[in-house]
């Protein structure tokens, strides 16, 4: 369990630094990057927001992408309520901030409810600290770059997004074949729309198109 926690901490730290760097590349200052890690505290949404801004997208498209990815946490919350049973307004409000991919995985993997709560709280706290610390490091580090190092950062940002996406496409992920088709569809629609719509809008349009295309299959699955 300790080795898992260390591994998770290292991974979170690397992604935090990558986020700080991506935020800087998108034109956010260090305070704005820090504010996002403190208040938004959900990695994929943070990457999406700075990704759309970095592509020259509008505020609306950026926030929209972040919210689309944020819906995952709503589903996690529903799964966590029976495990955590947060009592009182203060705990309810505080628990919500911790609901992300990693803490949900930790809480669900724990063998009983008591350990589940502990894993959620302690895991959440250490991820929060690590994420915020490395965001600052990444943002300050990227702000100091110029020339070829800046070109390197430009290439690192899409690579970081690809690394976020990759596990979903790999054999063993639930319905990996459909995930792959969805991913290819999303990329193709986004590129096809790029010359014709305001920057950033093509990303949201791609998601909407893919979801609509998947609708008949969804109906069959539910029938």
């Amino acid at each position: 369990m300790l080795r898992d926690a260390l591994g998770l901490g290292l991974a979170v730290g690397l992604y935090g630094a990558a986020f700080g760097a991506a935020a800087d590349a998108a034109g956010l200052n260090t305070w704005q990057a820090m504010t996002m890690s403190l208040l938004m505290f959900t990695g994929a949404s943070q990457f999406a927001l700075v990704g759309v801004l970095g592509a020259g997208g509008s505020a609306l498209a950026a926030v929209g992408s972040a919210l689309l990815l944020g819906t995952r946490n709503t589903v996690y919350g529903v799964r966590l309520v029976p495990l955590l049973r947060p009592r009182g307004v203060l705990r309810w409000v505080a628990t919500a901030h911790w609901v992300i991919d990693e803490t949900t995985a930790l809480a669900i993997a724990a063998p009983d409810r008591k350990l589940s709560r502990l894993a959620f709280l302690v895991g959440g706290a250490s991820i929060f600290l690590m994420w915020n610390l490395t965001t600052v490091i990444g943002a300050l580090g990227a702000a100091a770059l110029s020339g070829a190092a800046l070109a390197a950062l430009d290439a690192v940002v899409p690579a970081a997004f690809l690394a976020l996406l990759w596990p979903r496409l790999r054999k063993g992920f639930p319905e990996a074949a459909i995930q792959r088709r969805v991913a290819v569809g999303g990329a193709v629609v986004a590129l096809a729309l790029t010359p014709f719509v305001p920057a950033g809008v093509q990303v949201i349009a791609a998601v909407v198109a893919v979801v609509l295309a998947g609708r008949p299959r969804t109906r069959e699955a539910t029938a």
Partner: protein, 105 residues
């Protein structure tokens, strides 16, 4: 985008994402546990992340551009296929991007 607009984007996005988390702890489970909601939530990340990868690597405003970023992305994909750790993927992609910049530019 002005500093104020950036701040507004950061704060609005943060608040919205927090409210989505809070909603999960607040709404009846039956609302969220419908099959179509689960399908959408399962597949939105793949579509959105892939769209972002494509746009980040190949676009500049409304133009499609091929430069060091695409080379970096190809190197990253190769590294990921060989199960390289995250940091190695980023370093290789960055090195490829910087190399293209030095050679081409």
């Amino acid at each position: 985008m002005s500093g104020t607009a950036l701040w507004a984007t950061v704060v609005a996005g943060s608040l919205g994402c927090y409210l989505l988390k809070l909603a999960g702890l607040s709404v009846p489970a039956a609302w969220v546990e419908q099959p179509w909601v689960a399908r959408v939530v399962d597949f939105v990340p793949a579509a959105l992340l892939a769209a972002l990868v494509a746009v980040q690597a190949l676009s500049s405003g409304n133009d499609l551009v091929v430069d060091g970023r695409l080379v970096g992305l190809a190197v990253a994909a190769l590294a990921l296929a060989f199960r390289a750790p995250f940091i190695v993927v980023l370093v290789l992609a960055g090195a490829a991007g910087a190399l293209v910049h030095l050679v081409a530019g």
